[in-house]
């Protein structure tokens, strides 16, 4: 069931993910690790992750309305989704990314 739903959704789409962090904080590192793991498992080969360090580029924060850090923004496929936190709760991340089919 899950695999079918996932496959339907993700067959031909390209996933653009953007992870906003502030420096090399433990939370940022954890989030990045978690994100990589999830992507490897669910979206192998069709995703790109852009990490934006707001400490270096603070002006980028306003564009995606970033408040909390770390924040993961799903730019593509639309609609834009936001997930805040260190992404340690995988199930919630999958819900947030719309990778779990609504049962």
């Amino acid at each position: 069931m899950i695999k079918n739903g996932k496959a339907d959704k993700t067959t031909d789409e390209k996933w653009v993910l953007r992870l906003y962090v502030a420096g090399q904080s433990p939370k940022a590192l954890t989030a990045f690790e978690n994100l990589k793991k999830i992507c490897q498992e669910q979206l192998k080969g069709k995703y790109s992750i852009e990490v934006i360090d707001l400490l270096k580029n603070p002006q980028l924060g306003a564009e995606d309305q970033i408040l909390a850090l770390p924040t993961l923004v799903r730019k593509l496929p639309v609609p834009v989704r936001k997930i805040i936190g260190d992404l340690s709760n995988t199930e919630r991340v999958l819900v947030g990314l719309d990778l779990l089919p609504n049962s």
Partner: protein, 576 residues
């Protein structure tokens, strides 16, 4: 570092002027510099505007750029909304005087997974602050975060950190918060921002609304503790620090005419004191407004500025009515010396009236202010409030050295003095107009109930409205008391008649004396004539006698000559 910090605190708290009219007076200089201030209040009470004005004034008047972080309105909305108040945010943003940042949080778009913090907000704020070198920050309304972020524990911890961080940044910040049920703010922000708390209120009592501002607390500073009414109009906010006034205004010995010569005469012949408060009270239709209009006209003739608040009549109606008694006010309006301000008392609340009065007086800068009439303010059971309001107005006008004239309508069923007792202590000169009902007529009488600092007349004068203005008649005090109207006329006629008969009597006496004198004179003339004739007779007799003597002598001489006497020469000697 530590030393300078402690030195500063010992010196006294530094304050950043808000530039909001009146607010800096009640806080003794503005908001605490480098500290966050909480501005709370219910919806629509002016929190956002307070924040915006703080920034705009800071940027334009005190050269302190500011950051406005909005959590509710978008930048476009905000810019549009404050144009009506004369603030051009676009221009200020262009000139890097103000930075606007809109923070949008949509609960439905956000999924929480694990640990996070609000560093993003900090970074954005820091970026905006550093970008324009901001000294001031407004966060409006940060409580929206509570709706957007589910994890309250993190949020509260982060807010605490945020306010700490703002302090460390050294920016003077305003944080707005929605008023809660029993707390100052719905989310208890006062817990975090405790240096200065300002409460805005928008209350409706008896269908009239008034905005009020109160400084709930201000650490390290004294401040006015009352609720102050404030206005929002085309010039932004203005707060009225009225009750902070003391009783130490400068007094004047100068006198100004009331416009009615005989009334001046009742007040030592000089009129009111400049800067004093005059109350004209009386029952309906007794001529209070006429006295006020006279005063206004006289002041305008002297070239003074008069501000006339009418709460019952429209300016045009008032001018027309005054024209009927020969007072022309319109030319002065055109010249700009006289300004009418007509509003119904019920148009807005008392505080608002007060606020409006302040504002107009400050703009127009009059020498004389007339409030006609004051007691229409009393709607329902608000006498105490009216009194406080009037006290504030009186104090305010006195401090500005403005002569004030109030009229007050007293109802017929209570004694005149009693009905105004509420404000009598505020009044310097109190003129009482009263009806005198006597012999089937209703006439007007005027007397000076009190007049501080002068020996005023104690008489009741009759007060007459003529086509050339108010006339006061010298009081007629007869045996049966003061007389007015036709009774006075009758009495005057009676007296006139009396005077006339007296005059006749005098004439008659004069004539009699004349006649007597003439009789005497004719007698004297007759005697004189008698005497004259007697005298001439006597003279004639003497003459003949003398002639006779001469004749005799001559005869003797001739006889002697004829006798050829030698001794002839001696003979006359012997005869002698």
């Amino acid at each position: 570092m530590k030393k300078t910090a402690s030195k500063l605190t010992i010196k006294s708290l530094q304050k950043s002027p808000s530039g909001i009219q009146g607010f800096d007076e009640i806080t003794g200089g503005g908001l605490p510099t480098g500290r966050p201030t909480l501005v709370c209040g219910s919806a629509g009470c002016g929190k956002t505007l307070f924040g915006i004005e703080f920034l705009v004034r800071g940027a334009t008047q005190f050269n302190e750029p500011g950051v406005f972080m909005s959590f509710e309105e978008t930048i476009e909305e905000l810019t549009k909304n404050v144009v009506s108040l004369g603030f051009d945010l676009e221009d200020l943003v262009k000139n890097k005087k103000i930075a606007l940042d809109y923070v949008r949080i949509e609960r439905s778009e956000i999924e929480e997974t694990g640990e996070y913090d609000l560093e993003g907000l900090f970074i954005r704020l820091a970026y905006a602050i550093d970008n324009i070198g901001a000294k001031r920050v407004v966060l409006d309304t940060i409580e929206s975060l509570f709706a957007g972020l589910p994890n309250q524990l993190i949020l509260r911890a982060e807010l605490r950190r945020l306010f700490r961080w703002l302090k460390d940044k050294g920016v003077t910040a305003i944080i707005t918060g929605e008023r809660g049920e029993e707390t100052l703010t719905r989310q208890g922000l006062e817990e975090y921002v405790s240096d200065c708390v300002i409460m805005l209120d928008h209350r409706v009592t008896e269908q009239t609304s008034t905005r009020r501002l109160r400084v709930v607390k201000y650490r390290g500073s004294t401040h006015g503790t009352n609720e102050y009414p404030f206005l929002i109009d085309e010039n932004g906010l203005s707060v009225l620090p009225i009750t902070s006034l003391g009783l130490n205004h400068i007094v004047s010995n100068k006198r100004i005419s009331s416009g009615i010569p005989l009334l001046d005469k009742m007040l030592e012949g000089k009129g009111y004191y400049r800067g004093s408060t005059v109350l004209v009270s009386g029952t309906a239709g007794v001529g209070k407004t006429s006295i006020a209009a006279h005063f206004a006209e006289a002041a305008c003739k002297r070239g003074e500025r008069v501000l006339y608040f009418c709460f019952e009549e429209s300016p045009n109606q008032l001018m027309r009515n005054m024209l009927s008694i020969g007072i022309k006010l319109e030319p002065w309006v055109q010249k700009g010396l006289l300004q009418f301000q007509a509003t119904r008392p019920t148009f807005y609340g008392l505080e608002m009236h007060l606020a409006v009065t302040h504002k107009i007086v400050n703009v127009f800068k009059p020498d004389i202010v007339i409030l006609d009439p004051i007691n229409t303010f009393v709607v329902g059971d608000k006498e105490h409030e009216v009194k406080t309001m009037l006290m504030r107005i009186v104090d305010f006008l006195k401090s500005k050295h403005i002569t004030a004239l109030f009229t007050s309508l007293t109802s017929g069923d209570c004694t005149l003095e009693n009905s105004d007792v509420g404000i009598s202590s505020l009044i310097d000169t109190w003129l009482l107009l009263r009806d005198i009902e006597l012999s089937g007529e209703r006439n007007r009488g005027l007397y000076v109930l009190k007049s501080r600092g002068m020996a005023n007349s104690n008489q009741i004068r009759e007060f007459i409205l003529t086509d050339h203005g108010v006339e006061l008649r010298e009081a007629y005090i007869g045996a049966s008391g003061g007389l007015t109207g036709s009774a006075r006329v009758a009495q005057e006629a009676l007296e006139n008649a009396e005077v006339l008969t007296r005059k006749h009597e005098i004439e008659r006496k004069k004539r009699e004396i004349d006649r007597k004198r003439k009789a005497l004179e004719s007698k004297i003339a007759a005697l004189q004539a008698d005497f004259d004739s007697e005298e001439s007779d006597a003279v004639k007799l003497i003459k003949t006698e003398q002639d006779m003597i001469k004749k005799l002598e001559q005869d003797k001489m001739e006889m002697a000559v004829s006798r050829k006497a030698v001794m002839g020469k001696r003979a006359p000697g012997n005869l002698k």
